[in-house]
Amino acid sequence: MSIDPPAPTSAGPSTGPSTGAGRPTPTLLAPDRARQLAGEYGLKPDEYDRVLAILGREPSLTELGIFSVMWSEHCSYKSSRVWLRELPTRAPWVIQGPGENAGVIDIGDGLAAVFKMESHNHPSFIEPYQGAATGVGGILRDVFTMGARPIANLNALRFGMPDAPRMKQVIDGVVRGIGGYGNCVGVPTVGGEVNFHPRYNGNPLVNAMTVGIARADRIFTAAATGIGNPVVYVGSKTGRDGIHGATMASTEFSADSEEKRPTVQIGDPFAEKLLIEACLELMATDAIVAIQDMGAAGLTSSSVEMAGKGGMGIELVLDHVPQREAGMTAYEMMLSESQERMLMILKPGREAVAKAIFTKWELDFAVIGHLTDTGRIVLRHQGRLEADIPLAPLESEAPLYRRPTAETPRQPVIEAGAVADPVGIGPALARLVGSLDLCSRRWIWDQYDSMVGGQTAKRPGAADAAIVRVEESLEQGGARALAMTTDCTPRYCLADPEEGGKQAVAEAWRNITATGGLPLAITDNMNFGNPEKPEIMGQFAAAVRGMAAACTALDFPVVSGNVSLYNETEGRGILPTPAIGGVGVLDDVAQAVGLALPPGLDLVLIGETRGWLGQSLWLREIAGREEGAPPPVDLAAERRNGDFVRSQIRQGRVAACHDAADGGLLVAVAEMAMASGTGATLATPPPGLPAHAFWFGEDQARYVLAVADAAPLLADAAAAGVPAMRLGRSGGRDLVLPGGETLPVAALAAAHEATLPALMRDQG
């Protein structure tokens, strides 16, 4: 493996007075013991050598803990950073790209959307309820720490097969945990996606996304400034929970993962709710210089990153840290991942104003230190020096790996004519709509409060993206709304990570477009296996390549993100899962269209249908084959078709719209029909393709529109060079297939709705 930048030599680090003759030193670990502990904490031997070079001596236990969490994969992105740089992050509407707690985009009217998605995969497998709950809590803090009121939560979940050991408990616990936290804090959970696949049996994925609204000129960041300014701790007390959670999240699972349960944090959504209100109240004053939540690696990462970003030093007296348990050591306080805590730098003299607000909300408030000009983090506890580390090399000399990559072998293209239809169109549809990856998610979203806030215009299941009106816009006499979605098709990513990466971005863009929204930016959550395996790193690199191409072509930059590696159990990795969270804007919420099919309308298909069966759900569920190249994404067609659809919606000509994605065209039509109970009579497809390839192929860049009259739309499409065809007409209570086969919508809906409740019945 090559290392970039080169490791420091034995001559010592290039920056900082590390050995500092005469500097007091904390109690140091014995050399052999220190090296052994470093290994246990996840530092590789060469990484530990860098620690020694930076310090010019052995570390204390607390110092070793700080290095090990800051240099963990989770905090340092040491395997992924070189690739993430390839992602486009700029656009005229981007206010803050990657590198802060969350991304920020301009949505007009002087308002900004602040958002990010983050994984809590490892904790959610060990302790599903708390793992998922604290995942929601953590991402909420990333957003409100920037001055935004959270207005929507979404998630992207991947579960193993329900008959796998423990999996139903995991599904149940994760859903309860997401609901338990989000419902209590009063942020509506408005959207999400779920897949099931055996490759997640031992490693489910829980990715949580929060979107908030702030004034565009009132964004708070983490860079600490002002020598002598007070460092203030607010929120819940620090306990011994979650110590070394970030390190746990940077290793594979093994059979002893149960023993890691104490590293999972416990969530307190009530405290979080108070913290949101108190922070937003304080942010309305001018007291705050900088603020950051204590997320992964808790007090360590927040203090190191805030001081580091501001080019400052920081000195903390840990005796002042509010503690939940007696006898906590400096090491425990610095490594704790207790939840619902924030670190702030205040302007001098504003402590009393701030304290009054936190006291009103019954939260702890403590001045625990101050900023210095030393460029070092210095920790004291009970009169003893516990740590003294130069901050610049802690960041600049953090490991950065360009790990070897191996390309995923190309899969053969499966010709539409080469796969026989074993069951017929109607029976295949009936089975597909009840299959795990296509069945109704109602059992899940019925446990999430999607309406709190009173601004949810399209709730789960109502449209391709969730629509939430912006209350601040309403107050200005407007009706601006956000369109939000999460998307990824992991089976495509496994077969071809580059096309899969493209497709994930394109589908998020398409889902926003299908509501009439203008897609603006994404957050990404890169879930992959062990990066030390070349084939996994190759998946990562290729997915980034595909995502970058799609982001560029669609003007859909990345503004925040998170990487979760080592998603493996007993050496077997997950499907590569670059989950995309997309955000778009509607100038007027009244423009938003849903997917429920009204009666008496023409159905029009936008986009080209080639009958692409490779990696389709039809091929997997009906033909029993999980293979082939996934559908290619033609980004020019994607852009052209989507822009056309959006303009039609904005002209008020579209009554309902749904993208044709998983399951293909007929599944898309059925989903529209099931959402309203209205049927449709479908036209005979053009000659040249087998019927099952036409109806179930998963060609990209396609939409189904319901319009009063197809003719003018088809004329507009022809003029715009957009492939379009009339697909049929809505009405009645049945789906009538070409040739007369009749499927009652109610029967399809019953199959669609029955799957998850039946599977989860025994979970109480």
């Binding site: 309860r176 609901g179 338990g180 419902n183 209590c184 804090v185 009063g186 307190d268 959504p269 009530f270 405290a271 709710k273 108070l274 909300w361 019954e362 979203w445 019925d446 446990q447 999430y448 409060d449 999607s450 309406m451 709190v452 806030g453 009173g454 601004q455 949810t456 215009a457 709730r459 009106r469 209350e471 009706a479 919420v589 009244a590 109480g764």
Partner: protein
């Protein structure tokens, strides 16, 4: 109409409620703090909104019911003031003894977030004047503990005195077990005090007041209040 919405630690549907009241009355309601010991002069409606006061870590509403402001609210109700408690607010009203019964864990043992339909059992109250008796309206419900319980004698008394305001029903108005998702006794969704001025209900009519968002099924409840209090 001068309305006040009480904020408790953990309240989270106060903004929804404020928007609903503002839409119906044209006036922005006052936000009251749980530590206050008196209501602002001129208050003629107190709303205890939804949320998770004190995290619902003890029995839902039990901590909030002991808040300083609740003594003022009880005095206000005792003097004939109008008090509306929704969801967590309904739980507080039962915990504070302003309405009888209790809200137990949903019969499904899961949080329920979905639409429900309610049948209006009487239209001659300050909260339902704009409805016809027997009318059905849709509202969001979002709760883990909405299963209304009272002993048989209390239920009989509520029925006998006409204090059952709202019942879970099908969209066609049939009072069925299937329409009663949380398992409430006799499908009870909302009850009134004997003077008809205190109403507690579990669902959230405040989430259906805006045609741009999710329809206006709940708006008549707030318009009824505005009308009743304007006349008072």
């Amino acid at each position: 109409m001068q309305a006040g919405i009480v904020l408790f630690p953990g309240t989270n549907r106060e903004r929804d409620m404020a928007l609903a009241l503002q839409r119906a009355t044209g006036r922005r309601p006052a936000m009251l703090w749980h530590r206050d010991t008196a209501l602002p002069p001129g208050t003629d409606l107190v709303v205890l909104p939804g949320g998770f006061s004190y995290g619902d870590y003890l029995r839902c509403g039990a901590m909030a019911a002991q808040s300083p402001i609740m003594r003022a609210v009880a005095d206000f109700a005792g003097r004939g003031g109008h008090v509306l408690g929704v969801c967590n607010g309904f739980q507080m009203l039962t915990e504070a003894g302003l309405l009888p019964g209790a809200l137990l864990r949903n019969a499904t043992l899961r949080f329920l977030s979905m639409d429900c339909h309610m049948r209006v059992e009487r239209a001659d109250t300050p909260y339902t004047g704009r409805f016809q008796r027997g009318a059905v309206f849709r509202a969001t419900m979002a709760h883990g503990d909405g299963n209304y319980f009272a002993d048989e004698a209390t239920l009989d008394r509520l029925e006998g005195e006409g204090l059952v305001a709202l019942r879970y029903a099908t969209p066609a108005g049939e009072v069925t077990a299937a329409a009663n998702r949380n398992g409430s006794a006799r499908n009870i969704a909302g009850i009134l005090s004997p003077n008809l001025r205190v109403l507690g209900l579990m669902p959230h009519p405040e989430n259906q007041v805006d045609p741009q968002i999710d329809g206006t099924d709940g708006l008549p409840l707030f318009e009824s209040l505005a009308e009743a209090l304007a006349a008072a």
